[in-house]
Symmetry: C2
Subunit: 419 residues, 2 copies
């Protein structure tokens, strides 16, 4: 083979790979643009429990995907700080991110150059997701309170986006808290989620910088009750009574911001509370079965509430100990307050004392933080579980409505002049 | 329902769950003991590329599983230090670990009490893997050089288990290096791998303590060439020419310790080098495609060697730049030295400068470290890749032969008097 032949072969192969030819088989859809690639029929806001683990979740919709859509197995969550003070430059990041997110959700590489492009330029995509399936990737953006101190946005901050008060037992690490922005990347393949966050960070280089990030290896709540309920690292089923993606009434009531809720630009959006909850699992593991079950208010094997036989039997709160976790967290004990939970188990190696640095990265969506997380967390001040857990990171974000179509972009309702 | 009814129902359910009844459907095999639960026909040492992702890998065999067996998707690796100075007590840990590992590999809970047991005692199993499939879990134990300074083992240390020299560019963190013991837990479900390490740490409480641990979210090398070759976080295919689990000749030559190799107790074992390799991915991502391909000596899309068309074409080393990674790492450049690689990509959040703490957790098995990793790593001193990577953690372990049957245990050939 001559040098010339070699170059031609390589260019041709790259061109093919740039459009997802290696195993993705996007075929004709690739030429038709990203919108044609969405592989399930319903909108991004709805639940698609039947979606295959490898499939694509629609990026466009009234609500952002990654909230009521089925919870994927793995998480990469990143909080960013904005380093530019140029509003137009920041808006361009949001537009570039939207375009990249749209492509990645469809299983395409970032940028039209794909993995190829000019030899003298860095590739448009970092490459490690080439050949992997879309893996139900969802990318969800949120805006933190500190963003509203920039770009003349002070008057646009929603009242519902309050700073969280200090709760009993909090031991928050500044380096794992806050952030001007967040990206929640969920996928069934962790390499797909990591690839997405990394490429958004790369696109934002010089304008935004990662403040902290968190990997989650296993979901602890589900929005698809017909699935087996996942277990948290305490070994208990978690999220049995979570809001399902198909429960439109509860979603409207507890999750989606309505037109009359205040900040109009948030209509169709939601509010996200993220808490890194360290579990003292070595201590927990030496606790008796009876005590563990008393603390939760459910049995460990089946997950049935105290005195009941089955996981989904209605809990009888008064049968539980007064400080049982389920009893204190239940809507009945919190004036009806209900959260859509989407948390993940994490293990980040070991601390200096040989203990696993492990726990729950709690993610909860709600229509108003003042009527959701705050009253529930206050009520958990006497939770028997507190002996075994500690909140070590905290953040809150306004999660804007969905991207409607290929001309729309993340944050348009907040930043665009006509909005 | 009366209190008495409730108790009976609960006990019965627990008893069932304790034997894996919830979705595992081990059925009659459960009554037949762990040995009957292995779901593939060949021995632990052989490759089972056709094994389903959820299946069980046989625990017993001439070699430990987790070396030449197909590489699973996820990793939890833990290094332990021994804190007891009582030899019999430590041997009991090894026996208890073996029994727990045998059960977990088969998809069973640790301990015969399962998730139930006495209410006043801690459960035998922490519970978070209940309802999950065996997920091809393999658990592989290794003994570090420092173990041989204890328990009168000095005379038993194999000559091939050398302390690694300092290599050019090393920037090792003591807290991510060394260890008296290691456990490599690999599975297709990360929750299954994390559950396994956590339960072994729990069983060893007071006798051993975790020194450091590492999660890997995506495999970067495969021992099953018929699979798609995985990509590392630099976006390149990795492990194209790795030793396959079916290549008995190369396994005998490069991986398994032979009878005449010195320490007789290691016959059928191997030596493991673990290196935490941080990648400066933000810098890498701003490097041109041409430079990236020059550095590796392969093209990014297909993975073909310089001047060749296909990934598996034989590399022509002289066509590559003198400092190309593939050229310097190739057996031809290292007197034939060949490693079985089994590494994983990791992302451990963000460092203090907003950069992803990400890279490759390199794991390589070999018959003799002096003829495997050491000469190859020395030859990589001039590797062009070194500008973008840094070795920050290091450990080496003697990995004993497999557990032969249900009466055998990890380390018997080293510790038992008759050995």
């Amino acid at each position: 083979m001559t040098d010339t032949d070699s170059t031609q072969t390589t260019t041709s192969r790259r061109s093919l790979l740039g459009w997802g030819g290696a195993g993705l088989a996007l075929g004709a859809a690739a030429a038709g643009g990203a919108a044609a690639l969405t592989r399930t029929g319903d909108s991004a806001g709805g639940a698609s429990p039947a979606a295959e683990a490898g499939a694509a979740i629609p990026f466009h919709g009234a609500h952002q995907a990654g909230i009521s859509t089925p919870v994927q197995d793995r998480l990469h969550f990143a909080a960013f700080d904005v380093t530019t003070d140029d509003r137009e430059e920041f808006v361009q990041v949001l537009k570039d991110w939207t375009e990249a997110a749209r492509r990645m959700a469809a299983g395409q590489p970032v940028g039209e150059g794909g993995y190829g492009g000019l030899p003298e330029a860095p590739p448009d995509d970092t490459g490690e997701a080439l050949g992997l399936k879309p893996s139900r990737l969802t990318l969800t953006i949120g805006f933190g309170p500190s963003l509203f101190e920039k770009f003349g946005l002070a008057g646009r901050r929603p009242e519902a986006l309050v700073d969280l008060p200090k709760f009993a037992g909090d031991n928050l690490d500044r380096n794992r808290s806050g952030g001007d922005l967040c990206i929640q990347a969920c996928a069934d393949d962790p390499q797909v989620a990591v690839h997405a966050v990394r490429n958004l960070a790369r696109i934002g280089f010089g304008k935004v910088v990662v403040r902290w990030s968190q990997l989650g290896f296993g979901k602890t709540s589900s929005t698809t009750p017909e699935e087996q309920t996942p277990r948290n690292l305490m070994g208990f089923k978690d999220g049995t009574r979570n809001i399902a993606g198909t429960e439109s009434d509860r979603l409207e009531k507890f999750v989606w911001v309505g037109e009359k809720d205040g900040a109009g630009w948030m209509t169709g959006g939601s509010y996200l509370v993220a808490r890194r909850i360290r579990m003292h699992i070595e201590t927990w593991d030496r606790t008796s079965l009876q005590e563990q079950e008393d603390i939760f208010g459910r049995d460990k094997g089946e997950g049935a509430p105290v005195g009941k036989a089955k996981e989904r039997d209605e809990p009888f709160l008064k049968a539980m100990k007064p400080d049982a976790h389920v009893r204190l967290a239940h809507p009945e004990a919190n004036s009806g307050a209900t959260l859509l939970r989407r948390g993940y188990s994490f293990t980040d190696g070991t601390d200096g004392l040989g203990r696993l640095d492990a726990g729950l990265f709690f993610l909860a969506y709600q229509r108003d933080v003042r009527k959701g997380f705050i009253p529930v967390q206050r009520n958990l001040a006497t939770d028997a579980l507190n002996e075994y857990i500690q909140h070590v990171g905290s953040a809150v974000f306004a999660v804007p409505p969905g991207v409607r179509d290929k001309d729309d972009w993340w944050g348009r309702t907040l930043f665009a002049k006509e909005a």
